[in-house]
Amino acid sequence: MIRLQGIERVFRVGEEAVHALRGVDLEIEAGEYLSIMGPSGSGKSTLLNIIGLLDRPSAGRYALDARDVTGLSDDDQARVRREKIGFVFQFFHLVPRLTAAQNVELPMMLAGIAPAERAKRLAQLLGDYGLSDRAGHRPDQLSGGQCQRVAIARAMAMQPSVLLADEPTGNLDRHTGQDVMAVLEAVHHAGGTLLVVTHDPEIGARAHRRLRMVDGAIAADERS
């Protein structure tokens, strides 16, 4: 469960202050499927980064699973991120020198999970995301859709409760994009919370709850 209260994010660019977020209040229940849309520069990515504990708000409070995480140290935030949050990016961000399997294994390695347990989970993940026959390929030997699937498998490796996707289909053709959305939605069907930032109205419309951001604030919050 995510609860944001009066979140502000101000960037200083030289003399000027850029208000990326202005007093955002937001509550998201566990298991919700949200889409966030809005014009470029409206603060969608900034909001997602704050929810993912990659960025700190300039003001406001953030509680994750009923625990205030606003004031946690960097390292504590890293641990919360490791256990509870999965990220998927527009540009996949796979480590180019590592194979698909090694990329998926990465978060488990960082968490210090024993090799035997890792191998078990890895086989399961590769199977779940249809990557078993691509396990030994490096990113430059994979298609865009396959890359994004590796990235999703990696995001899910630590079985997080929240999956954050920033324009996950932004770099894919329409058909592949649909595939990737289906993979993401499977996470939601399994009970996870899913947040998707997108510019594609068709994809945005698939979510059960649709936020519209304008100029750093939530302008609309529709449910169906």
Binding site: N49, G52, L54, D55, D74, D75, A78, R79, R81, R82, E83, F87, F89, F91, H93, V95, P96, R97, L98, Q102, L106, P107, M109, L110, A111, G112, R154, M158
Partner: protein, 402 residues
């Protein structure tokens, strides 16, 4: 994160950027190899000189006429007033000392050696039977100079191996006569081939009885007295005794120089050790340079791998883990470089040993320890800055650029 995983992660980075890795290994390797090779040469020279002194004889005390102010100077490079001569009587008097095992007075000159029609210029040594044991000489044929009163001359001589073949070819030299100046000597022994020993090639000399040499060169005065002490501990006693006996005999004047082999050896030892350290230290600077190279490479890596660092943060890596990852990478590179360097240095040492088989080139133990240690320490020290920079990277910004 487990240590094994950390190493594996860094290992994949090192293996993933082959050219970069190869260049660093090269730089580190050259540095380490240079230290090893240079210090091997220095140590080789030191051991060479130590061995040369060893071949001179053990527990040796050398007496030479004239007073030298510099203790431990090279024999033969002495300055001073025309000294009072050393005589056979002086030499024989030294036997009074209980610390002296044996002694050999020595006269050296150059002579025209003739055998039949062949003629050759060669160093002529006049001495006594004791010389053989004091100088550790070995014979291939015959015997050495006869024992007996050194004041009596006998027309016999011992020749070096090379001189023997030069004068007599394959014919046996033993029992033949040769002529030195106006005197005739019968060859009673031939020295075994021994080679160079501190300036004297014993393969090319003729040794005659002391009295014969005195007549030959028309001189009473000795060039040296070689005294062998009974043991290593007796060397200093022998030295003091020799000085005292000769002072008494020379009306209370200290007009001889007494050198112990130990003192000379210690001087050489010190000089060469210092030299080796200095040159090795210079070579070690190249290791520091290699460390700076590692720093540069790691700083570039931080810039190049910005998005990877951002990603690791997004996956839950702490700043500490990022630092450790970069650190481990630097250490792996340094270990590899040190390993390459040790191997190349060893090969280089073997190569020089092939060229100069007489000199015992071996890297001193401190170089074997210090060179790789310096390599690893510098690269660890120099990777602190890049590692910290990587850990401080703002993950959002790191991820925002492709």
């Amino acid at each position: 994160m487990r240590a094994a995983d950390l190493v594996q992660f860094a290992w994949r980075v090192v293996g993933g950027y082959r050219t970069r890795t190869a260049l660093i290994l090269l730089a580190m390797g050259i540095g380490v190899a240079a230290v090893i090779a240079v210090s091997s040469i220095g140590e080789g020279a030191r051991l060479y000189i130590v061995n040369q002194f060893g071949s001179l004889g053990t527990h040796l005390v050398i007496v030479l006429p004239g007073r030298s102010e510099t203790a431990g100077a090279m024999p033969g490079v002495l300055i001073g007033r025309t000294p009072r001569d050393l005589t056979i009587e002086d030499a024989l008097a030294l036997k009074r000392s209980a610390a002296v095992r044996r002694l050999a007075p020595l006269i050296v000159g150059a002579g025209d050696i003739r055998a039949g029609a062949l003629s050759r210029e060669a160093p002529v040594l006049g001495s006594t039977a004791a010389l053989m044991d004091i100088r550790h000489m070995t014979l291939s044929q015959g015997g050495f100079l006869p024992e007996g009163d050194p004041r009596l001359s006998q027309p016999v001589c011992v020749v070096g191996a090379k001189l023997a073949t030069e004068l007599f070819g394959t014919r046996p030299a033993l029992g033949e006569w040769l002529r030195i100046g106006d005197w005739r000597f019968r060859i009673v022994g031939v020295l075994a081939a021994q080679g160079q020993s501190l300036g004297f090639n014993t393969d090319e000399i003729v040794i005659v009885p002391l009295a014969a040499a005195q007549a030959l060169f028309d001189t009473e005065s000795l060039f040296r007295i070689l005294v062998e002490a009974k043991s290593r501990e007796d060397i200093s006693v022998a030295k003091a005794d020799v000085e005292e006996i000769l002072r008494e005999r020379h009306e209370g004047k200290r007009d001889v120089t007494v050198i112990t082999q130990d003192a000379v050896l210690a001087t050489f030892d010190r000089i060469l050790r210092a030299l080796t350290l200095a040159v090795g230290g210079l070579a070690a600077i190249s290791l520091a340079v290699a460390g700076i190279l590692i720093m540069n490479v790691m700083l570039i890596a931080v810039t190049q791998r910005r998005s990877e660092i951002g990603l690791l943060r997004a996956l839950g890596a702490t700043g500490q883990q990022i630092r450790l990852a970069f650190f481990t990478e630097a250490v792996l590179l340094a270990l590899g470089g040190a390993g390459c360097g040790l191997a190349v240095g060893k090969l280089g040492q073997l190569a020089i040993a092939q060229l100069y088989p007489n000199i015992p080139f071996t890297p001193p133990w401190w170089a074997l320890v210090a060179a790789p240690t310096t390599a690893i320490v510098t690269s660890v020290v120099f990777s602190v800055l890049p590692a910290r920079r990587a850990a401080r990277l703002d993950p959002v910004q790191a991820l925002s650029k492709r």
